[in-house]
Symmetry: C2
């Protein structure tokens, strides 16, 4: 754990330059607007430790894989998030010497991320070799309103005497990934144009041939008649603004940038589109641009804020999580998804894991218009044919969605994960169920949902096999959500969710029979589904083998679980944790220790199907065996603890992710933020403490207040209504802010609310 930023409800502030932790700060100070993003890198040159990173949504590179021993079925490539051309850069020269905070004397330094406005500012004072001081202020943002536009303001002021200052805004395409398997560069120059007006740089990725044009222009204030030059070299265009700047005077450069890509534009239009965008931005001007950006963020917070009273650290933590999720994904483009590091680092490659369906979807469902969550679902529907190909590659019928993907193809290759962690398929079906349950949008099932349910069911039916000795269906050779066991047999979670997937598909089919018979017929004809196949599904779901541990009255993690040495986390010496940094892999695998919620993940997903006693027994059995070495784990346990009335346990588990990045708990935030687990942290509060559940078309709340807090409140959108929930020591206050009347269940009492109304339900 390491905290480098001060605690504040809306600001993340680094109060001094901490070169040894610069990468950490860069991760924390990342900006994003769904279309693009970047780490909190400096605009000026910096020779200290830094991970320079600019990322554009949907632009990836299929890097050559690096495997120990090739295995049939491995994907041909490992998709990498691509470090894109650097467009924030502004070189700074004072009296002929380049400013570099690694070498200049830094008298003061502050870097601040304003979460309310998604704005990164720096103010610092440096002294040159003769001790003359200069103060600098920088501000940048990625427009929430105009997704292709960014703006950077750089102001510099000599404090002691006049100086010759040069500011050189540039675009640089000669960038590399640190995370390149063979040290190759992934970008090629297409063309570049350098003028003192608009300059552009068009690069394309090798292999994937994504074209990206970056355009810049700029304005300068504070000095009269600066000298302007332009210069270019391979993959690099720049302008230089030079001027004598008097003591106390401020030279201020505003750099406008536009980034267009071949994902959105015809290649021949790219340059002109970027030029048009950047001219519009300059014409609009900094203030207006910032204004519309700020307004957009205001609307986001109005729908999705969580306020915590009496705990400033928790307040900052949850806002940071909400903020970063909204920076990462805006939901207006169903070709995009939520990468595990968002726009904050290169690690993990790929953009989409089951994290999206399991952890992120509930967040977007509850805090944004339902069209956003719907786009997350359509993303998977668009990849259905590739999922069918993927299953075929592994010798199975139906659709197996990839574990990690950029474009629907599997792009990860550890056999124990890629080939065996097949439970992800059920998460994609579950997301459909969850979406429909939350939004009531049953039409989705006819339009998109049933296709996915049918093909995933087909996969499960093929992947399970009949074991005649026990008259059951089994699923062998899987990895469950607990990645600390590989190639196990009959993982309860996987088998349960597979059976559930089949059951839900048949349920949805009955709904379609009633409401969309023609559409059903069309789909089933197209996909060649027979009555026999459906009958098999019904048999398999009924005869799925679901292992139990009778002596404890709990579900069994997997067949061999009770043959393991039965230890609990309390038996582990502190110095051996985290296990994944201290134990060899085989030792982890044969141990009883669970990385992340597995049986309990099933109890969370299918919460309404299990009674409280069953949940309690399983929680009591599995929580002491769970090491939570995934950032995705504690939230699920926290939510169940909340439901079981184990309030202090729920709070303790919540703390493990609440400030995961802000306090660098896992000592890896320098690589980027844990974006998807941020949704889990939000869930801990709203589902865990707030007790949010959707069941029988009704929103249920069963809130409690952690003793460490004085109160908390959160916003919800639900079926077109906007609600506000405040929880105090004694009661839950629920307000209906907008939309049609709604009956809400609070502490199991039905409360009828109309727009503008509010009511209190006491906890007792």
């Amino acid at each position: 754990m390491k905290r480098t930023c001060s605690v504040d409800p809306w600001l993340i502030t680094e109060e001094s330059l901490q070169p040894q932790d610069n990468r950490l700060a860069e991760s924390l100070m990342s900006l994003g607007n769904g279309h693009m993003g970047m780490r909190g890198n400096f605009e000026e040159e910096f020779s200290g430790d830094s991970l320079q990173g600019t990322y554009i949504a949907g632009i990836y590179y299929p890097d050559k894989t690096r495997v120990g021993w090739w295995k049939i079925g491995y994907p041909e490539y490992f998709a990498k998030v691509l470090n894109a051309p650097n467009f924030i850069g502004i070189r700074v020269n004072i009296d002929g010497r380049g400013v570099d905070l690694a070498h200049w004397q830094v008298l003061s330094f502050r870097r601040t991320l304003d979460m309310r406005r998604s704005l990164l500012t720096r103010t610092f004072t440096v002294a040159d070799e003769t001790g003359h001081r200069f103060s600098v202020e920088t501000t940048r943002f990625l427009s929430r309103k105009r997704r292709e536009v960014a703006a950077i303001r750089y102001a510099i002021r000599p404090l002691d005497q006049a100086a010759d200052i040069e500011l050189t805004p540039y675009l640089d395409g000669d960038v590399a990934n640190e995370d390149a398997n063979y040290g190759e560069k992934f970008w090629e120059l297409v063309n570049q144009s350098c003028t003192v007006d608009v300059s552009t740089l068009t690069m394309k990725t090798k292999k994937t041939e994504f074209f990206v044009t970056t355009a810049m222009n700029w304005s300068v204030t504070g000095v009269d008649n600066p000298s302007i030059t332009h210069r270019e070299h391979d993959k690099h265009v720049e302008n230089t603004v030079s001027s004598r700047v008097g003591q106390g005077q401020s030279l201020q450069l505003t750099k406008f940038v536009a980034v267009t890509t071949s994902r959105d534009w015809a290649i021949e239009e790219l340059d002109s589109a970027a030029e048009k965008r950047v001219r519009e931005a300059k014409d609009l001007g900094w203030d207006m641009l910032l204004d519309e950006h700020t307004n957009a963020w205001e609307r986001i917070w109005a729908d999705g804020d969580v306020a915590i009273m009496g705990d400033a650290e928790a307040q900052q933590g949850v806002r940071f999580n909400i903020f970063q999720l909204h920076q990462t994904y805006t939901g207006d483009d169903p070709r995009l998804n939520i990468g595990p590091k968002g726009f904050t680092g290169e690690k993990y490659g790929g953009s989409t894991y089951w994290d999206t369906e399991a952890y992120c979807l509930p967040f977007y469902l509850s805090t944004m218009d339902s069209s956003i969550a719907r786009n997350l679902l359509i993303y998977r529907h668009n990849h259905l044919e590739k999922a069918i190909e993927n299953a075929a590659k592994l010798g199975c019928r139906g659709a197996l969605y990839p574990m990690v993907t950029m474009n629907g193809e599997e792009s990860h290759n550890e056999w124990e994960i890629t080939f065996e962690e097949i439970h992800r398929n059920a998460a994609i079906s579950y997301a459909i169920f969850n979406y429909v349950r939350y939004t009531g949008d049953e039409e989705y099932l006819a339009e998109y949902g049933y296709d996915v349910l049918l093909e995933t069911s087909r996969y499960w039916a093929d992947r399970a096999h009949y074991q005649p000795r026990k008259d059951v269906y089994m699923i062998l050779g899987v990895t469950g959500p607990n990645e600390y066991e590989n190639n196990i047999n009959n993982n309860w979670y996987t088998n349960t969710m597979a059976a559930w997937n089949l059951r839900y598909t048949l349920d949805v089919r009955r709904y379609l029979e009633r409401h969309h018979p023609q559409r059903l017929k069309d789909i089933e004809t197209t996909r060649g589904l027979t009555a026999e196949e459906r009958q098999d599904w019904a048999t398999i779901k009924d005869k799925m083998y679901l292992p139990v541990i009778e002596e404890f009255g709990v579900f069994a993690q997997q067949d061999g679980f009770m043959d393991k040495e039965q230890l609990t986390v309390d038996d582990l010496p502190a110095e051996e944790r985290p296990l994944n940094q201290n134990w060899s892999w085989d030792r982890i695998l044969r141990s009883v220790f669970i990385k992340q919620a597995d049986v309990l993940q099933g109890l969370f997903f299918l919460n309404h199907e299990f009674d409280l006693e069953t949940k309690r027994r399983n929680f009591e059995f599995y929580e002491p065996r769970t090491v939570h070495e995934s950032s995705l784990s504690p939230c699920v346990h926290s939510i169940l603890a909340g439901e079981l009335g184990l309030e202090s346990k729920a709070y303790e588990l919540y703390l493990r992710t609440a400030r995961l990045d802000l306090d660098n708990y896992n000592n890896d935030t320098e690589d980027g933020l844990h974006i998807t687990s941020m949704a889990g942290s939000w869930m801990s509060i709203v589902y865990g403490f707030g007790g949010l559940r959707i069941h029988d078309d009704t929103l249920h709340l069963q809130p409690f207040l952690p003793t460490a807090w004085e109160g908390y409140s959160f916003k919800l959108v639900f079926r077109g209504r906007r609600l506000r929930v405040s929880v105090s020591r004694d009661a839950c206050h629920i307000g209906h802010e907008q939309g049609k009347p709604l009956d809400v269940s609070v502490h199991n009492c039905m409360v009828h609310l109309e727009q503008g109304q509010a009511t209190d339900v006491s906890h007792a």
Copy 2:
């Protein structure tokens, strides 16, 4: 399958140039003398497809690993067999044009490996652009007598008219591995010296700093006063002999080479030692050098030949296998071992697998002086401390020998193999048992054996854990010899061999108590062995869980085996085999199909502990489920089939490896020969058809004659005696050629033999 060489009892002959199969021929025509070896590359330049490969025993490179996802416990490097400086090269120029069989017209071509003498010859006729013909004869060998010496003779004759001919013998250190993980080169120049007398080239490997000096000189006959020049460039020294050569005249160059390494010499002596060796060779002259080489090979065949009557293909196959084994390992250096590809290719890296103990040891025990096998055992004893470190790395006590190694360190990194295929440890203990049983050398136990047994037992005791519910010890998370199952629980073979290892250790301890009490005390004091620990071993061996399949009365491959879909190999469509080229890895893993002998490996190793009915039931259960997709598999099944009287099955299985490389069965011989599996092929005949077993200090034979053969005979060394066994349709003829009298059991009859005596025992 592809046969490119003609069938002959002693020769491997390629009758024409087959450029598309040149790599295959290069593998087959490899030469080796234990110290060094090389593929059957051409001496002259060849621009066609070729894998240039020269290898020196014990010289390796720790290449950077290539892994998908790093895991704790992985070794830092992947050891590569190193392509060493090329010393066979002789460039040939005729009338100013370089001879290159890829571009010259080849009128005839023959490449022949003489197995009796370990001699590679080529004769070919080429025509130049004007149609003038030249005949060439080349011969080379690696001296069996002088391990550091090689000799190459190159004779060229203009057939149609005189020509200007240049022969340029050279040494070239600018070589690379095809199998380099990141395309790096592994050698650096130390120094080079080029004269028209002796030239030397000293290179060293990066990181490991192995120094290798190659020296050459040469003599020329057939022309008077040739012009001689010398020339060098970076990492390359050469001489050129030029002369006008008349029609029908033969220009003959003999190149003498010496290769010395820092494994044998002080670095400052390397050059002078090489120079001395090469001068000695030249002084001795080609004929004498060849003579002593041939004599040495004669002695090898005298002790270790297998003759097969009535089946020329089988005869060639078994000789090829015996020949290559003797080329690979001579047993005079306990720092060396037997690489899976010997000196014939780069693939698989590493030099030592459990193949040595499981497959090769019996061959060397039976065909060479027992000191050779003893050195194989001492090799492991020398690595004991590294095996202890290796176990500690994986969190265990005692010694875990590496799966793949060059110097005792683990150098492979697939977790499912490296960390989990722990049964190899028992093979190393078993080799001690097998060696002592065969040789009667019980002193070895005191001197070296007990150390290894103690520390491997310690490992097993730690790696097994007590399962209180069943009151047994279990070993979870292993890969058995059947690498088509990973991370399984209670592999019968592993558990059985672990228990056996503990038991044998305690047996040996009782022997030491009686015969070497002081030595025992010393060892146990040094290693800190307590009575308590020994008591644990006794308990664990008695309570080891050994899974069975009751319904079939067989041992269970592993805990979950019967939950798999029960298919047999007959159910597999031909086009899906081999599975490892057609099925994704997860599908293989969850299938019932077994890659190589596993339960049956145990029945082979501990043969004397199981009755025939048990072996029969297990064979009948497992053989139909075994796909034999390892070249090491069929021999064990073949041996058991022979024992069970399933003669045609035994013969069918024998055929699968008998000519594995000669007929390129697995379509991968171009990468190198399957050296270790060659020992298995030998075992199929001597153990399988001959029924060789050692039990109660007695050599047992129970031979049968495959119906396809007219007879076969083999030589054996046993406890200082040399025996000859001939098997005809009716009887087994056994002759005692040398040594003290011996009682041998043939077909369960004890036969007393004195030197020079022979007897027949009829099969009936």
